[in-house]
Point group: C2
Chain length 124, copies 2
DNA sequence: GCCAATGGTACGAAAAAGGGTACCAGCGCC
DNA sequence: GGCGCTGGTACCCTTTTTCGTACCATTGGC
């Protein structure tokens, strides 16, 4: 019943990390949030809320908390008035940047072929 | 109100492809399905159903139809009895393979650090 | 005639995800 | 004393996604 030499336990073994990544990246806004935080240094709650068109405050809170729980973001509260909260990448989050860049580059070329980004290729 | 030189329309312009990719990859099984079809040549409906532990038949049908609609997979029906259906990558799907590989490699290293894949690094 | 195999469809239930609104704290400003 | 700013929480409703079960067509083998 084997389809080829890769079928069987090898394939299964890869599924654990793959499933985990799928779970972490699911959610309507996660990739976009990482994108803003990572490349455009949009790190404050209010700034993210203004950028993510259509997201609600409660949803943004939830997504940020999940990214924090998954180890991508660090939440720093500055005890000022009015309060200031900044979200920055953790080590894990930074290690993910090349993947994010490749995903963006591929999307710009293959997923939105008619779409011309007036600002050239991705940063870095 | 600008956070740095990258804030503003540049960031917004990137969001169209990013959002589109997020939408395409959402769903509990999509990445895993692409992974099986692409690297392990598990291309028949029944074989995928057996591999994807916990998926139901109707969900698998829906995910495959969506991947087909998004242009990643091609559905080929062989008029035999019992019927045989194979799912293969389109050109778009194949262009996505490097991204998929990098995602897997990153996951194996960073997302499942204690997890040792007994079969070595990803194929190719 | 009956059963098995493949690749589905249909329909409702359940679960997960997201949205909408209200409300809160603390301090500065006028 | 009331208002505005920031970054939330609480709660409930709606939408989306997934699950679970039942059912179907075709044809070969017994």
């Amino acid at each position: 019943m084997a389809e080829n030499k890769f079928s069987g336990p090898e394939a299964e073994a890869r599924c654990v990390p793959m499933s985990r990544l799928q779970a972490v990246l699911s959610g309507k806004w996660k990739i976009l949030i990482l994108w803003y935080v990572a490349f455009y240094k949009v790190q404050r709650f209010g700034a993210l809320l203004r950028r993510l068109d259509g997201i609600t405050q409660s949803t943004l809170t939830r997504q940020l908390r999940e990214l924090e729980a998954d180890g991508f973001l660090r939440r720093t509260v500055y005890p000022e008035v009015p309060p200031r909260v900044e979200y920055t990448l953790t080590g894990l989050g930074e290690s993910f940047l090349p993947v994010l860049q490749q995903m963006l580059a591929w999307s710009e070329v293959h997923l939105c072929p008619g779409y011309v980004n007036p600002y050239g290729p991705a940063p870095e």
